[in-house]
Symmetry: D3
């Protein structure tokens, strides 16, 4: 559906994870003032799929929705941006959701999650036929949110990783440690290491690394070195580094450890932030795009950091932006101009 990308590739990315209904307050409204909630359907992995699709890759998302109109609407939200939705399953449970109060100035944004017992959480072992889904795929992406949701989701993710490994598909994992999840009896330390052991490319901050693997270091570089030692499959580790002046003003850059050097991207000064949710997923999609299309580490990192910065200017979780637009931002071209 995106034949318009300047350089569409024939590469295929598969993502797997929960998609939730995001209900966000309008403008600067607080929860207790809300007369309406804005509707978005989003999830960390699906956000990556949408962005990859808009970058010209083939992307398919695998998930499970309730068998009612909110599930259908969620599917349509992905299909709209060209994501292949054929592998989505439908069942009887609820759609996970979260409420978002947009912060302003010194006031922080707040999220109230309401995602337990969702259709995704109730995935039964063997629900998806991964060999079929992954046939012909180039890349598989997951996050650390999925195994934190339920035993079924964790088990299914492990099956997916094994199938991907077997099929020679590259695997990326965004560790994304969430303290509030992991309520089904397992901890991140119980599960994450065996998933990471099958992963080629990890996105994780230093605290993620500590929380999920128990690996520490005097700095990010040392933590990465130790992680690679423990997980020989891992070839690259990346992260964003964010400074919050206020809810309306952040600074962000990207870092990547490729086993030899800690690369750093240009830093972006993000004043007048529109919507920061999904910026990490935009970074992730930028990396996937960069690597799957054969960019150098530094180029992929610069592209990913610019994608991350760009996302802050777009409403919703999805990073509506093209390769041409992100490239221009990498080059510093047309920034803030009026393009006629």
């Amino acid at each position: 559906m995106q034949p318009l990308s300047e350089d569409p590739t024939e590469k295929t990315v598969i993502t797997f994870g929960e998609v939730m209904l995001r209900l966000s307050t309008v403008g600067h409204t607080r929860f207790t003032q809300a007369q309406q909630f804005v509707v978005n359907y989003a999830g960390a992995e699906a956000n990556v799929a949408v962005s990859c699709s808009l970058f010209g890759l083939r992307a398919a998302h695998v998930t499970r929705f309730p068998d009612h109109d909110l599930g259908r609407a969620a599917t349509q939200a992905l299909a709209r941006f060209g994501v292949d939705t054929r592998h989505i399953h439908y069942g009887d449970e609820r759609l996970g959701l979260y409420f978002l109060e947009n912060g302003s100035m010194q006031r922080s944004s707040r999220i109230i999650y309401d995602r337990f017992d969702s259709a995704f959480a109730n995935i039964r072992p063997g629900e998806f036929d991964w060999d079929t889904i992954l046939a012909g795929a180039d890349w598989f992406h997951y996050t650390g949110i999925t195994p934190a949701i339920s035993q079924g989701a964790a088990d299914e993710l492990m099956k997916a990783l094994e199938a991907a490994r077997k099929a020679g598909v590259q695997i990326s994992g965004d560790i994304n440690y969430r303290r509030n999840l992991w309520q089904y009896g397992k901890s991140a330390r119980d599960i994450m290491p065996e998933l990471i052991a099958l992963t080629d490319f990890v996105v994780a901050g230093q605290t993620d690394i500590e929380n999920c693997c128990g690996i520490t270091g005097r700095n990010y570089e040392e933590a990465c070195q130790r992680m690679m030692k423990e997980f020989p499959a891992v070839r690259k580790i990346a992260s964003t580094e964010r400074t919050s002046v206020s809810s309306s003003h952040n600074r962000i850059c990207g870092m990547l450890w490729n086993g030899k050097a800690l690369l750093k991207s240009k830093e972006f000064d993000l004043t007048h932030i529109v919507d920061r949710i999904g910026a990490g997923d935009a970074f992730m999609a930028g990396l996937v795009f960069g690597f799957v299309t054969g960019r150098t580490d530094q180029d992929a990192l610069e592209f990913a950091a610019a994608a991350c910065a760009w996302k802050h200017s777009v409403d919703g979780d999805f990073n509506i932006g093209s390769v041409a637009e992100i490239n221009a931002l990498v080059q510093g071209e047309n920034v803030g101009k009026l393009l006629r």
Copy 2:
């Protein structure tokens, strides 16, 4: 807060039940088209409390909310209309919610419920101190939804009824049978009879009576007669009778069996319906107001039926209308006029 009622009474009504976040589509939008959901906080019993408060009664609502800003917003939604919210408890669980797609023309309205495991459902036995809450009260109102939610809610309701009975408080129950609830192991037939046995005033249609008590009849009157025989505490049984031409056009009237005769109210032709949700609760509130202020059966019924009709013209679950306005509609005064 409503010192403006033409005839404020000193009577006090206590209601008990779940309040949910209602998320409704805008205008005629379908679920899959929704960009925004309109926010209301409502529940069958709370709707009665709000309407009673606007009629000049003292009203207090008892419920349990999650201890976060959506719970606070729900409390504020009741407090705004003068309902006493001091007895509301707060805990750690989620807020029940439901999604509403407004029907139009031949297309029906649809509701998707998402209310399991709510803060209300997790009421623990003895959570509320009913003797204190009911001190000085004149009326207690419940619906058949509450015992359908969880064992805890059913138990707590029984405690409330026993306390009310002991304190000489009048009790009304709107049977309101909901097939989709009753999922915790008990059926309506298991629980409802012992609640009805303590109830003075019942609102129930013929199928409600059958579903909850196993009582049938050749017609409504016969069913009522048999119900009264089986439940000697019950003194009056009422119901609305609705004819649906389309989602935009209904006809409605009220019926009341007082042990001697089946009274019928004027019928209202409801074209151009704005929002029918809560119309039954508006009818209920009209009856409570009528009886607690000493109207005759026929007058109370006419007032309740007019309140029910009026509700169809008001957005949201709450019946925003005053005694003067409902009285005028009973009299057929000013209908459709421009009042300067």
Copy 3:
């Protein structure tokens, strides 16, 4: 500005009266639910001017506004539709305003006026140079609202009528009796008769005639006959006749007594009413247009009644409709069709 009318005339209409800020609730919202008010600037006489301008006549409105941005906005609201605003004066007082709650179904529309001590009410004697304003004009229109506002407004209106009479300008007056006004010490009976004595064309219902002139009759025709007897200058008397089934459903037709016969127009069945405010002014403008362009009494009446019916489909006080559109409605052409 309306060179597009199929048959623009060179006739000029002058109107005089207060323009208020109308603050109306959105959709079916009640006053106590209102989060926003929709802004319109309107007044009975200015509504006539706007409609005449859209019918291709030259129209100028004379009024007085406060000297701040709301006054400027009111002027702009008239200028936008081609009304000549050169004669508007500006002073230090407030802008009169009114709040409108749109009725629905059996629930009536409600207006809360807040118009005392406005810039218009504070017109000082001799404020306007009527000889200049009326030079070259063909028609002058006023309503009974103006003399009800203040002594200054009543005096200025009398000056205008005398100047119009002197200049041979046709005069129309819409009696429009408002019980809530007339608070400055005079009653309608004190003032209206001397204004009517200078009027060629009167719009008044039977109760208006009684309230303002003390003239009664067994029916409208008799009241008109007696009125003409008492006021020999009056040559025609017209009125609309409205039946309110509900706020959403009215029926309306026009009547005109021309001294010989009581003419009746086609009746319009108005279901799904959008906005009835200003419908009387639309009727008035239809009559002015009909007479100033030389239509027969029956034709002018049919045009005016159709204009009145049309207005019910248009948001706001102004009747946005062209001569071609109103003519088509008179002919029953294209009613409810999709015009491509």
Copy 4:
């Protein structure tokens, strides 16, 4: 994407035609009052594709868009509802558009077209590879709008029909005569007959038949008989019959001539109309669904008429409705009920 249909079929429908940007006024607003236009992307043939997709068929739409973000948005609007957009081409010209003023009451809806020189009008001969597109398809649908747009569009449509015929694909054509188009030098009478000669199933009213083929009759049945005689390929001819009480109130039914009898569907009384645009396309999609899934003529006609009625309750051109919902309306089940 619609695995949820109760009975998804493996049938594939291909549609071909222009998709325009529809800019409609909000609510009852007139063009000259519009502060905002609501955005929809729609076209007669694409509307059929979307509805077929929501009915569980595989549907692909073929068209040509400008190579900018409005073209991309139009593609996404189709993809969202599961329509296959792989065959869409992109070029340098503009996107056709139309402005819609929603009528109300006696006031008609109005459309201002602005569609000349669009990317679709500039289709070059041989632009699409019809053999590939039609491979495996079961049905091809076009309308009489396409050949009216430009010579290129007319030529390409002929190529498509020839390819479909060759491939044994069923062909439906909705004649849909538009007086304002046909501006490139050819008339409907020049072009339509040769297209109809290749068509199995025609939707056309009596005036369409006369305008496009010069065939008249004393009634619809006679016109259909004569048409079939002249065009032996045509096996069925259908039409809707609409009575307009007002813009808010129509009555509609369907008719179908199958060579033997003139079948009539149930008539629907459509009060409180939400949006009638696309109702004819909803009827068409109902017929396609009915025939491709093997319903009887009468059943297909009832389904199509109910689909057409249902569309009036849905905002936008697309008929958002499922087979289950339309079936229920055919059966008269749940009409106007509140479905929990």
Copy 5:
């Protein structure tokens, strides 16, 4: 209604003053562009009451409203946030109102007041029973706006202060000098000194002190010293200090003279301002909360300054913020973070 405050106190605050209807333009819209006005009900003293209630104090507001639905809506706006509205009186006059045009960038915000002859201005001597109202109260708060409105309001305020003094209730007064008020024949210098003489705690800038008491000084400290000398009841004087870079960017801090030292709070850099109206009242409420709960002067001042800063991020006049949120801002915790 705020049992959720981390540390609810049993302290009670009484406020007295006018509540107006605030009509503000949407977003960056200018008055002459406004299609809608956003509705808020607010007043300097009621703003303090609402904020105190949200901080967990008991708060009651005393005022007078017109006896129509706008008065009721104003009452409900206070009740919603837990403010006790039992002491509000209702009468026949209008509701004061003000129009707000939100400034942006270098363009200033503008207010047009329309508050004369309001229900509050027409308070009659002895209207309120202060002994009953103040029974059990800990704090009474007023502003210099009330005595500027009318002689009746000034007299009633004096009665309130005398009753408070008698009852041993702490008194705070925010001088808040308004040049445009004071139109009933008295000046601030005539009235304010006798009110200040009964006040324990004063909020006033240096120009307020000069305008109301004729007291000058080389700097704020000196002016405070002289004021305390002249008004021995006054124990503390505080003020905010605001630097306006633009409408979107201010800097603010708080100062407090406690008779011994001039304390200063942290300064906040306020970029991306959402709504600055009511920030002074938020500061005031912070001080009331701080002192009534026994914080030290410096702690109370820091809390108040942070409350003031926080308010700039919240739409409307009310400071929607909890003690926990303000405390976190004082500590610099979580500023601009995404709180999950």
Copy 6:
């Protein structure tokens, strides 16, 4: 209509150029996310006319619109702000339009033009009677956009300039080179020089000068000197100088070469930009106002630069601002204050 300007002049400005329908996305929405487009009617020259009218000058705009309701709406948009619309012609073609995606942060604003074959482009030679239009006028303004649209527009503009010259009317031209226009066979270099030769006052940046006249220079001053040498009629050349930090943050100042010196205005730091479209026209209107009312070069430039800065805070193309407001900004008074 603007008798409220502090110093209304009797000067008359005539502008000539296309007015388009601007369709802009809401808030930060991208084109592909747009559910609605905001409606504005605007054009470079008409923007100048509106601003001049709001500054108290008499302004008339000359253009050509399609003869349908969008043309009428465009006329009304100008008339609303007091612009004389009597000279506007109407014909059969379309209204030019453009789509605007508001940029945010590092993301640029984007415009998609759709203006070919408009009613304006189809101006026929001699369409307007310039002698009549210019009678009594003081100033005529055009831009380099008009001759770029079509041969007819270019020819008509030349006729206007000749008539203005003959009538002794001052002429200003804003060169405004647009690469995407000039598609009818002529280039800017073919046409612009003969227009500039008749122009007194030119607004042009250095690249405009090069693109339209082939004149280069080491800096702006030298380019201006050479331009004046080649075009002796030109007496002053001005331009704005913009630095884009991001879409939300620019810096701007004005420059003016008066034949002797290159004057520079104060620079404005424009954070939190609301809408930059039309800022150049606001600058132009400021210069016209300054010169026609006899300000010095430096004063006119400061006023124009402040007008340009002010525009960035106003939604839409029109610079809603008064002389008093712009003067205050020149003086640095009240910047960012709350004006009660």
